[in-house]
Amino acid sequence: MMEKNTDILSQVIIKFAGDSGDGMQLTGTQFTNTAALFGNDLSTFPDFPAEIRAPQGTLAGVSGYQLHFGSVNIYSPGDTCDVLVVMNAAALKANLRHLKQGGTIIANSDGFDPKNLRLANFADGKNPIEDGSLDKYRLITIDVTKMTRTALAESGLGTKEIDRAKNMFVLGFLYWMYNRSLDNSIKFLEEKFSKKKEILDANIKVLKAGYHFGDTSETFTTRYEVNPAPMPPGIYRNIMGNQGTAMGLIAASQKSGLPLFYGTYPITPASDILHELAKHKNFGVKTFQAEDEIAAICSVIGAAFGGSLGVTASSGPGIALKGEAMGLALMLELPLLIINVQRGGPSTGLPTKTEQSDLMQALYGRNGEAPMPVVAASSPADCFEMVFEACRIAIEFMTPVIFLSDGYIANGAEPWRFPLASSLPEIKVSFAKEKNGDRYLPYKRDEKLSRPWALPGTKGLEHRIGGLEKQHETGNISYEPENHEFMVRMREAKTEKVADYIPLQTIDNGTAKGKLLVLGWGSTYGAIKTAVVQARAEGYDVSHAHLKYIKPFPKNLGELLYNYEKILIPEMNTGQLIKIIRDKYLVPAIGLNKIQGLPFSAGEIRNKITELFN
């Protein structure tokens, strides 16, 4: 065996791309988990087609998974990749523009046969892996299909089953290339195929074959090492946004003592929250898959009336359907959480792609004046924290609260220094037990302008609530003009009152005064963070603040904004937060907008920062 060298790298971006049936999501997730266990910091970005199985070999069917890992702090999945793994010609065509100059392409040569080339719309007789058109990259071609079939020739499995293990060959090869142990993936396979011994053996065999191929083949002389990252000491795990959301809900249920009732209707990209919660029935979690979006939220209203922590989740189109019921929840003043995992819109839009275009819908998308608190998560791990906060606000203020996530952080992953259960704050719940007047007054308010919560079953507090305008304190139906104005203003005041009970806005990175502030919200955090870190290192006077509380804003936000000469607001929409900031604080903020169903790259934000200094 020839001598192999090892190069040390501080960070690497790999993109796995193939047909949606090629198992690229699994390959990417496996590499991610192994990198995380090794101690790398990381960020991921799965990018899959809306169709479950688009026609094989076509551009529409390409599924990708981008992983950025390093021995340095990583805030985003990265702009362009160092290594592009392509299982077929379509995967190459769809992703080549995301590869760095001089980057590495690992291509499955079997995926470049005439049929695949034709399906990927390459000109007749033109094969990019043979015609030299990829000369500016480092091209490694492996006939993965053939290798896999050879490895499993004796397995007794059919060709179809054998070919399904192809991704394991690629994974094994990359493990070799980046000097990683196979143990974690072998353990995973053992659990996944515990009941299918022959499939398990086949997968492990191919995984090892990929690894050994790197080791023995003379073509490959260099391996790479990416050391663990300097992260704050503690115990870490890997977490995806939807998983974090589900865990935050269970934590809020435990910390409030309220049973969690989750009523929902399947929709991309929110369904994984349901899948996760449905596994945890031993926490007293009830999941209800309703007949439609409207029934989903209405079931939750019923459960909240009965004393549960009621939660519903959807994406934009489903939230539109829930609008009327959200207004009802607001009028009833019951605690309720509405989760919107945003995707590209309008209408059905881009179901599997990300966007931040439902902010206006969250703030204003209901009939009448129907204000409710809105919070947004900035990263997969932040989903846990902010959904917990959303539940706290809902319960303490007896109000529906909207929690915004999006497809990017919902499916993205990052390392998470998870908290101890004992370190999470208790959420105080007090049910009304006695009359608060001559008779029970369901709308008599406390210092938070919150009303009492009297559960059915409580003797003497029988009362009726509904969607009609109600009289102050008594809750009786009232059409009195002054009372209506009073109540509309009261509901707004109550929502604004939340500002007294949330943290002040902080600067994430930079100085409290300066030339430029980049103000973000939601999933743009990683890209803004990376861009601002780079720009500051180069001497630009730029700072970064990231909003998590959007309705109401933190009380000091205006003051904070006035300390900068310019404010840049990047958003994955045509400019929604910017309208509110301009309206409320009268600052001439500048927008940077991307509406491509894809997250910002740090480079795009970097360029805008530089431009604003010229």
């Binding site: 079931s299 059915p456 029988e462 009726r464 509904g466």
Partner: protein, 347 residues
Amino acid sequence: MEPTTLNPEQPKLTSKDLVTDQDIRWCPGCGDYSILKQVQTVIPELGIPRENIVFVSGIGCSSRFPYYMETYGMHSIHGRATAIVSGLKASRSDLSVWMVTGDGDALSIGGNHFIHILRRNFNVNILLFNNEIYGLTKGQYSPTSEEGKITKSTPMGSVDHPFNPIALAMGADATFVARSMDRDPVHLKEMLRKAAAHKGTSFLEIYQNCNVFNDGAFEIYTEKSSKKQETLFAEHGKPLVFGANNEKGIRLDGFRPVVVELTEGLSVDDLWVHDETDRVKAGILGRFFDNPRKMEEHYPRPFGVFYTEQRYCYEDAMQAQLDEALSKKGPGKLDSLLSGRETWVIN
């Protein structure tokens, strides 16, 4: 869990205890008054403390009902009470849950939720006040209005084919399907008692006269002059007889129901004996739905319990899964949930 019953030591609830301080806003002469009175009469008999009772409604005239019941209540949004009671019952099986709805609320805007609550079989009682018209919006035709109905929105007559609520409920696999009317308090009370006693979703359609926008819609069944000829009160285990002097009956010729005169050499022993547990026959009986305004020969309109069966309730099955998970895995530990299975330490 079954709805908690009253401690025998406690003073018995009376119908007056169920009256609220709110002024009733239904039009004078509305059929809703009678239904409210019968409900307030029957509920105290059930022995359930009023704090454990919840009335939920959607939108429409009938949906004002909860405001007039001194229990817990919610007046919700159009068509959605079905979904609200589903969530309430799923999370609070200890409560006695009643839903009040109308033909527009349940069968038009809320049609989807209506069929789904029936198949899921939550242990709740649904009272559908059918007046065959939209009253609150001042007189448009409803999904139960007859073909050709002239209303404000159908000046040349409705071209909609109406729903048969009983057949619809049967089709959605309801476990209790019954019909009564506002102007027969004795029968209505009997049906309310049966609906309350049934474990599962009880569907009770109540013919209710809207004296402002659809007066007399059910006159033929309620007026002395025609009631006996036009109605058929089905009772479990009894032959289907009707007519001024019970001189008529229904025979089954295969699957075909035939109206017969008992004077022509036939006796009650030759008639169809109602069996409320027979799904096929209940389906046939539910189809006695001719337009009574057409003069040709037709079937009398049946009242009573068409069909009932025992089937598991959703909330019980849901709770059983939680109990099973608890006994298999033990109570959930938040720390293990947060750490997951794969962790690493950074020093």
